[in-house]
């Protein structure tokens, strides 16, 4: 039984934590919060690239370090803790993963080394306005290798150099790579609930694009991509939840009310015990996701959905109740509680909202049930 990070991965995490405590205190996140036009923190991004984190799951032959997805999960947890204001989810979990999974040999050779070296910032564009997105109903069209349509909101869409776009072509729904700095692309930055993540509207007008058509059918490809990213994001959520718990523990041990520190009241103790329980449930589900991700298990859709649901529930509860524990101070700009309140909602929505994932989980259970009963 080996259901935990390895010793090396624990060391990697500790190293990452020390580094991020020094390089990404909340003042760094707040710089982007105060000046959203920056898009992300360039100096932190540079650091992360130099450490090889953008290429951690990219094989050495394509310029990465080839360490693997469990190591990526370890790093993700640490980035989640500090609400890192960088396009890591978009570039590494989504764009790089899409190329790795579905790119041609030529696409891999062209794009992956540039991600590992930090020259390429990627994003995934699916939504076309309010409501659930489904690939079969995408209005963005590709005709003879040219894309036309509007995608919004796109996380990191304003700062990315390249996008994976879910669109429909002559042969049905699919994923396409677009150079956002090329012709036929115009972008507008949108106001975001979490300004530490850039949000944009991207209009394509006869923009050149390349299909990503490795292996599976189109609907599946987007689903596979989202499943893989959901597991890694679940680790960011666990990291964020843990940080919220720590903040609440510290604040409640210093704040006096009615002659006692408020951490001596059961109302606070039991609230934080509940938070701890949700966080550990999320961590265990995330570990199962990491196992499924790193072994390409058939169970990935179920494992990813469970990790996403538990991670989202834990981080959102943690952000809400940590703010609550801080009382009036928690609702001030000055305290960091709102950074987590914003980021937890952003992570909950960026790969599709919980109702979609709950439905995926139950569908998986129904199928597993059929197999078990031999029907």
């Amino acid at each position: 039984m080996n259901f935990d990070f390895s010793e090396e991965q624990v060391l990697l995490k500790e190293h990452a934590r020390r580094l991020l405590e020094a390089e990404c205190p909340s003042s760094v996140t707040r710089k982007v919060l105060e000046a959203p036009h920056l898009g992300f923190d360039k100096s932190l991004w540079k650091h992360v690239v130099e450490l090889g984190w953008t290429g951690i799951a990219i094989p050495e032959e394509f310029g990465g370090t080839g360490m693997g997805h469990t190591d990526l999960c370890a790093i993700a947890e640490e980035l989640g803790r500090v609400v890192a204001p960088i396009p890591f989810v978009s570039t590494v979990y989504l764009f790089a993963e899409a190329i790795l999974q579905f790119g041609s040999e030529a696409q891999k050779r062209e794009l992956l080394p540039r991600i590992a070296h930090g020259e390429l910032i990627g994003c995934l564009a699916t939504a076309e306005g309010p409501g659930y997105f489904s690939p079969g109903k995408a209005e963005t069209r590709v005709v003879k290798g040219r894309m036309t349509g509007t995608k919004f909101p796109v996380t990191d869409g304003g700062t990315a150099t390249h996008a994976i776009v879910a669109a429909r072509s002559e042969s049905g729904p699919g994923l396409f790579v677009v150079n956002l700095e090329g012709e036929g692309v115009s972008r507008t930055t949108l106001d975001a609930l979490d300004p530490t993540r850039n949000l944009a509207k991207i209009a394509f007008e006869d923009a050149p694009c390349q299909p990503l058509d490795g292996g599976r059918n189109a609907g599946d490809r987007l689903a596979v991509l989202l499943n893989r990213a959901a597991v890694v994001v679940a680790f960011e959520q666990v990291g964020g939840a843990e940080r919220c718990l720590e903040a609440a523990l510290t604040f409640s041990s210093e704040r006096y009310a009615f002659g006692r520190t408020i951490n001596s009241y059961q109302a606070i103790k039991h609230k934080l015990a509940d938070l701890y329980i949700k966080k550990e449930i999320a961590r265990s589900n995330a570990y199962f996701g990491a196992w499924a991700l790193s072994t390409n298990a058939e169970d990935l859709p179920r494992a990813a959905a469970a990790a996403r649901i538990a991670g989202t529930m834990a981080y959102e509860f943690a952000a809400q109740e940590s703010l609550q524990t801080h009382g009036g101070m928690g609702f001030t700009w000055e305290m960091d509680c709102h950074l987590h309140l914003r980021r937890s909602r952003q992570l909950a929505l960026c790969l599709g909202a919980l109702p979609l994932w709950r439905e995926q989980l139950i569908s998986c259970l129904e199928q597993a049930d059929l197999i078990e009963s031999g029907a």
């Binding site: 039984m1 080996n2 520190t261 001596s264 015990a273 999320a282 589900n285 469970a306 529930m313 139950i362």
Partner: protein, 415 residues
């Protein structure tokens, strides 16, 4: 990350599987075991003796006491394999998990020589006599008194009442926590003894529970004479012994308690849906709750795998193990209410006796309520998580520095 055993663990598991395949007596879900207590005891004792002969009864105990001096992960592996075949009945869990280890730690050599081997072989069953009507969560508040006999024999005379004692009615022995000094603060005047449940003056009265079943007992002590040689630990040092007993609960590796979310999905798939279309499993609100409940239960199962990982690495399991019962018990209750909801009006019918699918959820309906209390209430467990895991301060204790006697007087005058 993987779920594979280490080579050493895999070899042990293989050995256990082969032994179980050759020696398993029968499966636990046989009808008469559920409904007939004497059949249950007969089966449990025979199976325990077989395990003891092969040194699988208490794997981590030293060989000298009938164990095999094994590692904790080996006990966990055996439990897992035994659970898969539904062989364990839990009759010996309290005795061998909590009571007998206490005897082994605190009794003299002759006592251990007399009591340990028969307990391990399942020839004798033990129960734990701690809780009282006025000492539940606050177990150090026990009032059952032990005073030295006035005949100079050195024996103790015990009077009082214990409650919620599982298995007292079929137990041969028990360990009992009593008050030997009321003139000091409550934790400081307690003493632990082991006691023969057939001793004169002990009477066991089954409790009729809210579920109309009888699993727990009241145990009355009326002038019960206990020789001082049956004392475990120091006079007035019983709290330390009690803590040892409670710390000895072994790592549980079983699944969730009662019917779970998968059973709930199965039930829903066989029931009509809202508005006469499809099945109850198609309702969005039901599916949302099923998803969140599944994630909690599955998360709990996976948390146990993290504990097993620590054990197989020779480490102590992390504090996350403390969330087990508080999550599992609540989930039992949530599952029950969901199930009875989708049965609609039929949820009012009681099928608990028939072992039908609805009957299993009705069992959850009652036992969810019970399990949120038994073995530490939700509230006490959350105190433990916040204090021992999160390092938050202990509750303010108004009874810490006053004598037990004055506490009782204070309560009498305010009541």
């Amino acid at each position: 990350m993987d779920f594979k055993d280490s080579d050493q663990d895999a070899a042990f598991r293989q050995q256990v599987r082969e032994w179980l395949a050759a020696n398993a007596l029968r499966r636990r879900d046989d009808e008469d075991l559920r409904t007939n207590e004497s059949a249950l005891l007969e089966y449990s004792k025979a199976w325990q003796a077989k395990k003891a002969d092969a040194r699988y009864a208490c794997i981590t105990w030293p060989e000298a006491w009938g164990g095999r001096g094994g590692r904790l992960i080996e006990q966990a592996i055996f439990d897992e394999e035994e659970e898969k075949l539904g062989l364990d009945t839990g009759v010996f869990t309290i005795g061998l998990g909590m009571c007998v280890p206490t005897v082994m730690a605190f009794a003299d050599k002759a006592t251990k020589a007399r009591l340990v081997a028969p307990a391990l072989r399942g020839e004798q069953i033990w129960c734990q006599l701690f809780s009282e009507p006025s000492a539940g969560s606050d177990v150090a508040g026990v009032r059952t008194r032990a005073v030295l006999a006035d005949d100079g024999s050195g024996d103790w005379i015990v009077d009082g009442q214990k409650v919620w004692t599982s298995g007292a009615h079929y137990s041969d022995f028990g360990i009992v926590l009593v008050r030997t000094n009321p003139d000091v603060p409550k934790h400081k005047g307690l003493t632990m003894f082991w006691v023969d449940m057939k001793a004169q003056g002990i009477s066991v009265v089954p409790i009729r529970q809210a579920s109309d079943q009888r699993d727990f007992n009241e145990v009355y002590f009326n002038g019960v004479r206990i020789p001082d040689s049956q004392r475990l630990g120091e006079i007035d040092g019983g709290w330390k012994v009690a803590l040892f007993t409670l710390m000895n609960e072994r790592v549980t590796v079983g699944g969730a308690m009662g019917a779970g979310w998968r059973d709930l999905l199965k039930l829903a798939q066989g029931l009509p849906g809202l508005g006469g279309t499809g099945t109850a499993a198609g309702d969005g609100a039901f599916r949302a709750r099923l998803a969140e409940g599944y994630v909690m239960s599955e998360g709990l199962r996976l948390t146990r795998l993290r504990a097993l990982t620590a054990l197989s690495r020779g480490q102590t399991p992390g504090p996350e193990n403390s969330i087990g019962k508080v999550v599992a018990a609540r989930q039992m209750q949530v599952v029950a209410y969901e199930a009875l909801d989708i049965l609609d009006q039929y949820g009012m019918v009681n099928e608990m006796g028939s072992h039908s699918l609805p009957g299993r959820f009705q069992w959850n309906f009652f036992w969810g309520a019970a399990m949120r209390i038994a073995g530490g209430t939700d509230e006490i467990l959350k105190n433990i998580i916040s204090e021992r895991v999160l390092g938050m301060p202990a509750d303010i204790r108004v009874d810490r520095d006053v004598t037990f006697k004055s506490l009782s007087e204070r309560r009498a005058s305010s009541g």
